[in-house]
Assembly symmetry: D2
Homo-oligomer: 343 residues x 4
């Protein structure tokens, strides 16, 4: 059994992680921290956990956290980096579900996140936890930077095309749409039901923090800088991301569907749909899966990929558990084999 | 391992049952029938099952169904009763998720369902599968009539009050609200997103088929006929039933919360919430649980109970699996211990 | 042309009032106040108003407000009562969309609202603005207390029965459901899309502030105190209230539908539906209308009324405009004859 | 007063047209036809019209329709073309809200719509009713082909860029998303609330009928064939289209916002938002307006336009009324100046 700690268990990423961890057969949840909720039962805040755990929120405490085999940070950006060095010293391994260790270029990180990075050396050693790309590195990692939700959906969709150098990569377009849970559980007018339901809008068109993250991974896969336009949109629903990806093909005679099938054949959490089938976000609701389709509309020279995930699972907590499984030598599917809720 | 067959696997009750059965550790799904879909893969229709089963729909066939240990009917009302006698002869046991065996009074059944009953003798022997009331009878049953969704929520809410003769039972009121999945997966204008979302309405105020079913159970528990007004409403959402129940108390000095706690103390799938807490349907989404609260507003002589279930789980497929577990001597929670998806 | 001022134009009641006032042919909007938004264009906050007004939010200022013919308060409870006396002195007439002048019993008001009332004398003279009950008094009123949303739906539904003394009135039940806009536009976790959509729950079962308001009106109509259980619920949608009302009939041989038709025959904003038809909230979305149906299920002795309104229109801003029309001798439908948006 | 007939008043486009026509001060609705509903009151099917019209559905009858000044077809594709020639002979003018007269190339029309065109000569004379492009031609038109919903949003977004030859036009991308009402009011599984809510998906990626329509207009504006990838998606909501448009700029130093403002300065129903502001579909709910923003993310060489409309208003019924106003010399805003419902 692994002992696991969760720092920041009051947000949507946190409660989703708790849902997965209490069902995980190889994990014992040893602490869940929250300054504001210390002393309260986790299941009083999240009644879906009532039959599953009696654990209480506690104040974040380096000692108890450091004694865990694995510590998850489900905190706002900028928190993990202040606590991680001390926990590493005690021997804990870390998965940060926030953004503190996602960008390799420290200057770029500081520019996009607007604060100084607190531990450059840890940043340098952290592994970007997209298993489909970095599985081996994750195995030995002390610190895993769990990818962002949009980057997971977009990167998995572009990757086979980039790796085979099949597309003009200076004008990639990623038109992405996310359910409102991606915005977190903080009180805010913009994510009220009355503001966000029965409506749809783009946001952060001028530049979203996931842009440099996607660009970093795709550029690394391409071997040179790629050009990407990334436009996120807010969907009037709770969970789910769909990314529609557009690029101009360099050559028109490749069997793209076969290429995608081959690339992800042994991946337990990427599902290339039968040719002609379109993905729906609801087919991945609550599960750690990315479903993908690739199209060449009207037989033209533009390729379209549609990629769907549950932003809270493959886009956050599920991928974190997948990374934990890899780090500790468990079967990768352990605790992640539920069926999506449909309808 | 139990071999299980599902007749009628293309509706919402059917797909929910398949979701639970493919995750159940003691069940092997041996056939799923559908006349219209025979030959097609189940997972092509319901992509959430893609990683979990390769089974194809088959024509309903008495021979293969009769060889199953347990056959579930997730069919329209009136179908099961025509097939059940032949299957019983082959030794299969039956759980009907439709209404064919729910009303003991055959004449009343025929009046509410508008057709002649096809097998009176089976009806007489069938057990009404509300485990919290009939657990022992379910154990030995050949045929279990799985309760309706509204009756499950309403009956569990009134039961402690009726059993202790605490309320005037000639003017019971049950104001119930259901998500749209209760109306099934058939194409119809009334359940289109554009008709049913962003709106709310009562329906069948003059008489819903679940009225005699609830009345039968409550009258049996009371030892005499009760009077009930039951008004169902359609909620603009997919899953979930909430029933608000109203009755006048005969005596005002009973600790109702303690009474409910005692009644359901050993029930794995009924959760009496802490006093003062109100149930929300989302806390039971996807799980086999009924959460209940009881109130005496303003200290007056009216009792209010609020009861929530997922209409497709504790109100249908989950309760069916619970009944199967009881019938075959499995631990009652087997395959039913998931955590509800929140948010 | 009437000059109109709106105090507190940043909430949902406020923006709905602005929508109605900018379309009203006899109104000139002269000021819209908001401390936090002073200096900003109203249409920058609410882009639906972009083509309709250039007005800016201003600091609340007694002088300019007092010069208006009519001042609407769309403020939190407790604000209007501190400003109204000064405005009355300058000759302005007042419609308060909050609760400051709704309860005639000052002690009861203070108990439910938890603060001391600031102007008892104004409270004594204020008219409860339910036109279907108090039209004549509204005509001459200096201060109109615009009814709450639930009270409007519930009162109009019970009124014909109470006025004709047809029901046992000590155990009235009102099971009411409201869209989330009833909770206002303040940032709060409970009304986030991810908390309130795809779920349903009762709230304030022990006592909601609209309970004494409904009880006051019904008791007055009955000529004695009535007993009422009022349970509000939160619907996963933006707009709309449905109230299902239950009572035991004293005599069973009254044509209830005819009674309701007669009571509301000349009311422009109450629509008794054809017998057997059930109301839906979407048929009143965006319009100042209450639609009602009355039932006697199974021919029994319980009467069920279902009443629907748009909580922001007949339940707030629309009723306020209706009251203004009455106060100033305009045709009651002026500016209120739009068609509901369906679907 | 114009006498107006509506053929096919039972779908969403139909009821929206009725909503606008009964509020239009210069229109008398003289007949609404429906084979299946003949003899029934329109307001019995659509209760939002209860206070506004007593008209009944009638069998389609060429004589009465031909006597109208204007006949709207809100019918399935392929219906209008069989009736229009006879109506034209009687002197009626026609606005077809379906696709029968949208494509100038008859062979292309027949290929995409799968049937033979019934009146080539009428097709040749019909005017594509996008007022922002063809206002003068609409004035004198006998037959107006009312544009599709997606084409309206996409074309208005690309038009200023194409007209000024600012973009590489062989690889245009239009990623469009529509509320479910765009799929119509027919009973179908795919548009049930339980299938389409809480989910998101692309559809018709290989080729949607609106593709040739958009291409025709943009190619005509460009003076040569443009290349376009158009991917529609289904939004979990009732009304609204958002189109995100992507193209590579030929030159980077144009003030795109100023260009859009100038192009649409005198258009009553196109609103270019302040620079940096993002459109939301809810700000156009129920109104005849297209709101647009243009971006050059990160100062790069890709232009992004976001364009929103209500698919049933500016994308269908509202644009039809706008065209009628133009055809009959009325002020273009007549009957179209409502405020959008927000929230």
């Amino acid at each position: 059994m692994l002992s696991a700690g969760v720092v920041g268990g009051t947000g949507y990423t946190g409660v989703e992680l708790l849902r997965l961890l209490v069902m995980h057969p190889e994990v014992e949840l040893t602490c869940v921290t929250s300054r504001s909720e210390a002393g309260n039962k986790v299941a009083d805040m999240f009644p879906n956990l009532r039959e599953h755990t009696d654990i209480e929120f506690t104040e974040p405490d380096e000692k108890s956290l450091g004694n865990c085999d694995i510590v998850f940070f489900a905190t706002p950006n900028g928190t993990a980096m202040t606590m991680v060095p001390a926990l590493l010293e005690q021997g804990a391994r870390i998965i940060d579900l926030a953004a503190d260790f996602r960008l390799k270029d420290e200057a770029e990180w500081e520019q996009w996140y607007g604060i100084k990075h607190a531990c450059s050396d840890v940043l340098a050693d952290a592994v970007y936890g997209l298993p489909e790309l970095n599985r081996d590195a994750v195995k030995g990692a002390k610190v895993v930077a769990n990818p962002g939700c949009y980057p997971t959906a977009v990167t998995l969709g572009f990757l086979p095309l980039i790796e085979h150098d099949l597309i003009e990569d200076q004008h990639l377009v990623a038109d992405a749409k996310s359910g409102v849970s991606g915005a977190g559980r903080g009180a805010s007018v913009a994510t009220l039901l009355c503001e966000a339901s029965e409506s749809f809008k783009p946001y952060a068109v001028d530049g979203h923090r996931h842009l440099p993250e996607i660009r970093q991974t795709l550029s690394s896969a391409a071997g040179h800088d790629v050009g990407l336009t990334f436009v996120p949109h807010l969907l009037p629903m709770i969970r789910g991301i769909e990314a529609s990806l557009y690029a101009v093909l360099k050559a028109g005679d490749v069997d793209l569907h076969a290429l995608f099938c081959a690339r992800y054949e042994s991946e337990p959490f990427v599902d290339v749909l039968p040719a002609g089938t379109m993905p729906e976000t609801r087919t991945v609701r609550g599960v750690n899966m990315c479903r993908l389709s690739v199209f060449q509309p009207q037989g033209g020279d533009t390729v379209v990929v549609s990629s769907v995930i549950d932003n809270l699972v493959k886009g956050a907590a599920g991928q974190a558990v997948q990374n934990m499984n890899i780090m500790f030598g468990l079967a990768e599917e352990t605790g992640l084999s539920n069926v999506a809720l449909l309808p």
